[in-house]
Symmetry: D2
Subunit: 341 residues, 4 copies
Amino acid sequence: MQHFDSDYMEGAHPAILEKLMETNEEKTPGYGTDAYCARARALIREACGCPEAEVFFLVGGTQTNATIIDALLRSTQGALAADTGHIATHEAGAIEASGHKVITIPHTLGKIDAEAIDSLCTTFYADANYEHMVEPGLVYISHPTEYGTIYSLSELKAISDVARKFKLPLFMDGARLGYGLAAEGADLALADIARLCDVFYIGGTKVGALFGEAVVFTKPELAKGFFTLMKQHGALLAKGRLLGIQFETLFTENRYLDISRHAIDMAMKLKAALIDAGYALHIDSPTNQQFVVLDNARMDDLSKQVSFGFWEALDADRTVVRFATSWATREEDVDALIELL
Amino acid sequence: MQHFDSDYMEGAHPAILEKLMETNEEKTPGYGTDAYCARARALIREACGCPEAEVFFLVGGTQTNATIIDALLRSTQGALAADTGHIATHEAGAIEASGHKVITIPHTLGKIDAEAIDSLCTTFYADANYEHMVEPGLVYISHPTEYGTIYSLSELKAISDVARKFKLPLFMDGARLGYGLAAEGADLALADIARLCDVFYIGGTKVGALFGEAVVFTKPELAKGFFTLMKQHGALLAKGRLLGIQFETLFTENRYLDISRHAIDMAMKLKAALIDAGYALHIDSPTNQQFVVLDNARMDDLSKQVSFGFWEALDADRTVVRFATSWATREEDVDALIELL
Amino acid sequence: MQHFDSDYMEGAHPAILEKLMETNEEKTPGYGTDAYCARARALIREACGCPEAEVFFLVGGTQTNATIIDALLRSTQGALAADTGHIATHEAGAIEASGHKVITIPHTLGKIDAEAIDSLCTTFYADANYEHMVEPGLVYISHPTEYGTIYSLSELKAISDVARKFKLPLFMDGARLGYGLAAEGADLALADIARLCDVFYIGGTKVGALFGEAVVFTKPELAKGFFTLMKQHGALLAKGRLLGIQFETLFTENRYLDISRHAIDMAMKLKAALIDAGYALHIDSPTNQQFVVLDNARMDDLSKQVSFGFWEALDADRTVVRFATSWATREEDVDALIELL
Amino acid sequence: MQHFDSDYMEGAHPAILEKLMETNEEKTPGYGTDAYCARARALIREACGCPEAEVFFLVGGTQTNATIIDALLRSTQGALAADTGHIATHEAGAIEASGHKVITIPHTLGKIDAEAIDSLCTTFYADANYEHMVEPGLVYISHPTEYGTIYSLSELKAISDVARKFKLPLFMDGARLGYGLAAEGADLALADIARLCDVFYIGGTKVGALFGEAVVFTKPELAKGFFTLMKQHGALLAKGRLLGIQFETLFTENRYLDISRHAIDMAMKLKAALIDAGYALHIDSPTNQQFVVLDNARMDDLSKQVSFGFWEALDADRTVVRFATSWATREEDVDALIELL
């Protein structure tokens, strides 16, 4: 049986486990005040070309989104997001539970564009009743998106410009950031993201770590009080060094990008095979997520030998499914899957 | 200068002011525990044909919506509402501030239909990831809607049926309820509403009172703890008798419906005149709100002699405006407005 | 039967009702944008000697406390208050419902002192773990307190100094402010309060109005976004002029202080009679609230002819009860009560 | 340099790391739906003698407390806790951020007793204004407490009885549960806790795991919707098996109790040596936390060779410090510390 359901099915990159073994008996102070975290922060600042950045380590994506958004918004402000954005759909109301509205914008394959943000904000402030409404307070984008699409440098630049025009912090959810940076045709580097966003995070859970997300505030003043807010959100790990060790390992010897590149290579090999075999792609994704249209009979058949993600019913007879590769995907497993197609 | 901006521009029905004068020096206990509130509750229960109903008096619409929704929902549940619903648009995030998501459904002239609710709930529970999402927790409708449209008895019956199918309390925002009950062609009576909804409120602010909304829980068990929740939401008036006196007065001698009928009569007279004068109606409303398309030049001209509500720009040259009548609108003012058209 | 239960048993000062009658048919825009509110704001700014103040009108005390505190605090900050403070005890968790902790300080007859605040803050920042704790974010005091005591000018000055030392806004709950200003021996004037506090409110509900609290931000920058926050808290009255009319009336011809002085005169007459008759005062209050120790048998007897507030059981045989006078208390009723003693 | 600062300074028990290594390349579904979690749940149910229990795995203590309390309380209810309870002091307002008040009870060495709970509840419901106040909604205790003290079986029985009398769920914070079960003189077993509490958690972070807390609802109906609430609170780990593997390992071959016992043995050895050396104990603790009074000069001296926790200044010359042992403490390190005393 092959498994291509998601990119968080395995444990961690072996170098991480080795380091955890090696350091297991060391005694360190808690809550991210240890030397591993300090080194991981330094490596991330360097990789981002942003020496003034404030870096924090959290455990998972939903808690990271909720904590960052709570830090940036006043009570009457909302987060602008694609209507398909993770915070708008699959976080069980974590943003609203902190008292904030998600103001949705129609998506195009998971992405929003600068023009739509500009138009929404312009219309908002032109409304005579705008003081009775939730004010746009930040822009949230995910990169890659939930649809496996990516922003180009020029697209991100445009979004950043409009966000700054309306004084809205720009926040990028990078739960799968490595797969965006390494995506086929990507022209957006970590330093660009650091320059254009006010805060973003570098996903570890789906890219080589057991768990962990590294939050980068490129404007340090936005991070004021963030440590205590992490504590309040239950997002402060007692044994913080576990996060420091993981990110230090991922940001040593270019490992984060290398393993991300591997996932993309595997996905592109699979994608080519799917096209060759005559399958229709639902979305032309350059990332580790591939969305394929299957006849239902074929899907049932295939599901006996490989597990994959159900995406949506296309019509009565056909279904869109998702195959996800990851840093851990073995080429032999991709080959085995291709055999089955 | 004539004023048709909204239905909350004047004070209160004279009978209410007289009663306030007359009782001003009386000493009563606070927080709705007085005899006026008791009588008003009895009159409302009777008017609703629902002797077991629990009735509470609050001050304004937004606080009433937020308090009721907070009472009915668990933390991970949301309120289904039209995307044009007041709670989704013009309450400054009051629902989210209590921790709840508004789950929007596309509207048809401000209304949602049973089928859309059924489809949304069916799809929700069919989703493999539904436990990662905000669960539908109640159905919110406004009657009349923000677009001046009304639900028919059969429409409300269908919505009530689907709500019960999914065990969702049905909550009707009746900020303008009188104008819905008295609307041209309305076939929905107060007793129908009480039978089909689990909770609703009878708007006073826009229908004859200085302020005040009477909340009717037709299922008393849903009202458990509501008094304390009102206090927590800042919705418990110290001198509660002011609300009791107002609703007692409105529900004496059929006053609530009579004054609502007057507003409708005035609106229908205006509507007929608008049609006669060749204006295009944007929405064919049977209620006290009339939405008319005006050329911008005409609008500017008219606005020198009458004030009205700006609704939306239709295109570069034309605007939709709203004329609202109320219980207090004088026929001579409607005639004066018609003269100007 | 006489009633001395509380100071919110009657309606409003006759001049207010007359004005409401007189203006009833006027049409004004909503939400506090009318001319009555504008004039009331100007009168209040003048009475406070604070021309730059931002003034808002809300309906009741709990909603006012919750909205102001929500406006001033970040998510991880709390409100310092006496453990007997209204926000700590009798608001059904309204502060916590907005996500904020009330950090309590032991009281002395309802008051807190500068030294206790200084000590708490000094200890807090000296704690190695303070970043794991709720940070002091503002100081809340009530004047008069829930125990009918008042702050002197020097006490308030000291509290203001320590609040500024720790950069904590000082917020005074003035639900009974008139009775504090007019209290026997009071040396604290409105202009002092405006100078020493960052925000406070002038209670109307208990001092001559049907309802209403006038919030004064003496530092306008603290009021940023307050209008929308009022809307979110359900604290924005649609027919805002009702509040404007009431406060305009109260701040015309020194009415607010005059009627407060009357309540104090009545309370002092009662207090003298109580002492003469040999009753023990539980608290030596210079305000409209008088706390008296009664033998239980005497209390039961008295309660057949006069209603009063139950305060607390002193021991098995004696109870503390509260007699409250108000702007509306008639001298003949005080005389009748004295007769009964 | 020796380190006795806290019980979360090392990584995990070697058996856990081995198992993580061994299973690293396995592919499992996420969010706790894997076979490791299933087995860990079964082992915990068995250890608790509670086959019907619902078991969930979360990452850290603060998020666990906040999620459980949010699950159990209605909006107007609060959590009764010792004023020294972790939720009342060191969780940065996590409970209030979910909208709930912590209602504090004075502690005795970190503990509360049944009588105090009974008295508080009785007084509460006897208060004429109780509907204006936050209602007691659950009882929170920590075992061992923050002061290193433990409840006896009869004490817990009494608390459980009074909680049931007032229909309050009893929730035990077991962040250090192992050290309570294994404490010197403890007569409270896991099965007793399961029988007497409605929900509790078995701490992993401080007792052998890298991280993780196992929540046990002994009344399954209280767990309704808990999975989604975990997601909302950011407390649902994507790679849930990491928690399953850890708790399966800890609950195999009696490991959880055995390693806890080791920590206690080390603490008792240290305690005896402290007494022998003439030090004064601040608290007579039977657990892994020992609180000792040191002259400040001695403390400064000692701190050059050993790190420990600062607890509180006793007076100008003396300080209370905490030495904590853990499952990982080596006897040779305790001996080395004893040498230094």
